[in-house]
């Protein structure tokens, strides 16, 4: 079976982390984009068709929650997985209430990350599928079923 690559955007101000993480995800067959801050993340989202954003909550300048709000405003279907420090589970909860798919404690376990990426991508696919079906139905109605 051919694996359909998930288009992942990694957003973190730790350059080394972003680099290694993207290398690893590429190795497992995902298509990876990177951004080192909130603004860069939003810029990338504007031009690339991204499935899942892996977003660090603690970043200088624009913090993760702020970025999340903006993502959900501009691209509501894009799924977001939050990366948080141990002390900040409350922030993760806030993030999930704002529409994030899930969160992971940093440093995140590779298996967990893979599972959550998979889950996020699935949720996005399903949502897209529902939208497509709904669109079909509206089209049918408009044409009167002929």
């Amino acid at each position: 079976m051919i694996k359909i690559p998930t288009k992942v955007l990694i957003v973190d101000d730790e350059k080394d982390f972003v680099e290694m993480f993207s290398l690893r995800l590429q190795e497992t067959g995902e298509k990876v984009f990177t951004a080192y801050g909130g603004k860069e993340c939003l810029d990338t989202l504007a031009v690339e068709d991204i499935d899942v954003v892996v977003l660090d909550i603690k970043m200088p300048e624009m913090d993760g929650i702020e970025v999340l709000r903006e993502i959900k405003k501009r691209h509501p279907i894009v799924e977001v997985i939050l990366l948080t420090g141990h002390g900040a589970i409350e922030t993760a909860v806030t993030g999930m209430k704002l529409g994030a798919y899930d969160y992971l404690l940093k440093p995140a376990d590779a298996r967990e990350m893979a599972q959550k990426l998979e889950g996020a991508r699935k949720r996005k696919e399903e949502q897209e599928e529902r939208i497509r079906k709904a669109e079909e139905r509206t089209l049918l109605r408009r044409t009167g079923g002929i």
Partner: protein, 413 residues
């Protein structure tokens, strides 16, 4: 622990013990009788040597000592008493023309002197004064000890607080590089898995090394997890908690481990009510920490007893074991983060530190008493009424806050 240290106040109940030292028995014996009638327990000695051997056998409160004695002189005896029994007061008896001797005696540490012939009322008065001085000094000493203990406790608490801030800060900072190391390792693992053995002659060695890195990362991650969990606990939720049920459940939880070690866990909960408003989840964590610690300290055939003690003011839970005990030098350190006697990688040294933090959050306290070879008792105390808050030391304010939010005193049912 206070319960064990405090001895009943006996001093006022016990009769004062006097020792009369004089070489003239015709003076000594009648005085003894008269003093005895006044309610004193009186011993007598005919010379310095006798006085010494008597005092070595039985302590006395006050010595009435003749200065002029053949052999060992009064001043010599006085010096010896002050040296050996600093608490014992000495009243000197001098000849009527020898006031100078008395003064010298006072310089050497005698309480006072009386000139012979002695008037009984006068002597009794002096003895009582000496006793009062003794009592005052004892009180002063106790006060000083109490103060020193309080200061020591405060220093310890402050130390814990600053250590906590420091170590959580470090934990935060370490998490980021740790995340990078982890990514690198995962990546290497991935590449290794994809590479054929034939292409990579020393692949096994590399796999082994990567495996070790993975284990080490896991270990470091456990530490930062626990440490950061301590600072920002999930929100404390107070509800009516049945401690008896909670204790039984917790014991059920560790039962298997206890059975494996052939250790009996006894619950002594029959006589108490055991209901209190508190955070059940937090108390469960405290109990698990304390009982697993106890399990680690015991051998087969040992016993762990979990009991509840209730007073109007307080509810105490004790976890007592008959295990190896904690040496005195460690006792001061056990609540510090990272203090552990387990080999590296086995214990994080955070269990009791976290427990200490939880008890603080609950407005209670935790205390320990231990004897090497006999066992250890951990006591956690939870407040029942507003009045109990003043007993919680540094956690008094938290305690008041909590009892205010649950609308005053703990319910009785």
């Amino acid at each position: 622990m206070e319960d064990r240290e405090s001895k009943p106040e006996k001093i006022s109940m016990i009769k004062t013990r006097l020792l009369l030292v004089d070489d003239e028995s015709h003076f000594r014996s009648p005085l003894k009788k008269r003093l005895h009638k006044r309610g004193f327990i009186v011993f007598e000695a005919g010379n310095g040597k006798e006085c010494q051997s008597l005092m070595k056998q039985e302590p006395v409160d006050v010595v009435v000592l003749d200065i002029k004695m053949p052999g060992m002189g009064g001043i010599e005896v006085l010096t010896w008493i002050r040296d050996q029994f600093p608490k014992t007061e000495v009243i000197l008896l001098t000849g009527h023309a020898c006031a100078a001797d008395g003064v010298e005696g006072i310089k050497k540490g005698a309480f006072d002197y009386l000139t012979k012939p002695v008037e009984l009322d006068h002597l009794v008065q002096k003895i009582n004064q000496a006793l009062e001085k003794q009592k005052r000094e004892e009180e002063k000493k106790q006060e000083a000890e109490f103060k020193a203990r309080m200061e020591q406790q405060m220093v310890a608490t402050e130390r814990l607080a600053s250590l906590g801030t420091l170590s959580t800060g470090i934990a935060h900072e370490i998490d980021n590089p740790l995340a990078i190391i982890m990514e690198c390792t995962e990546f290497m693992r991935l590449l290794l898995d994809k590479t054929e053995d034939a292409v990579f002659p020393r692949k096994k060695d590399f796999e082994k090394a990567v495996g070790k890195i993975e284990t080490a990362i896991d270990r470091a991650r456990r530490i930062t997890h626990q440490l950061l969990g301590f600072v920002r606990q999930p929100e404390t939720v107070f509800s009516k908690t049945d401690l008896k049920v909670l204790i039984s459940e917790t014991i059920e939880f560790v039962k298997k481990e206890a059975q494996n070690k052939k250790v009996e866990i006894v619950q002594d909960l029959d006589k108490v009510n055991g209901k209190i408003w508190s955070d059940a989840y937090a108390i469960r964590q405290v109990l698990i920490n304390l009982i697993t610690n106890a399990l680690a300290a015991v051998n087969s055939e040992d016993t762990i007893t979990v009991s509840i003690k209730e007073t109007d003011l307080l509810t105490k839970i004790q976890v007592e074991d008959t295990g190896s005990g904690i040496p005195k030098e460690n006792l001061e350190k056990i609540f510090e983060p990272f203090f552990t006697t387990k080999p590296p990688g086995k214990g994080t040294g955070l269990g009791l530190y976290v427990t200490f933090g939880i008890m603080k959050r609950l407005g209670g306290k935790i205390e320990v008493s231990s004897r090497v070879g006999t066992g250890t008792v951990f006591t956690i105390t939870l407040p029942r009424t507003m009045k109990a808050c003043s007993l919680m030391g540094d956690n008094k304010d938290i305690c008041l806050n909590i009892l205010n939010t649950i609308k005053g005193d703990q319910p009785n049912d």
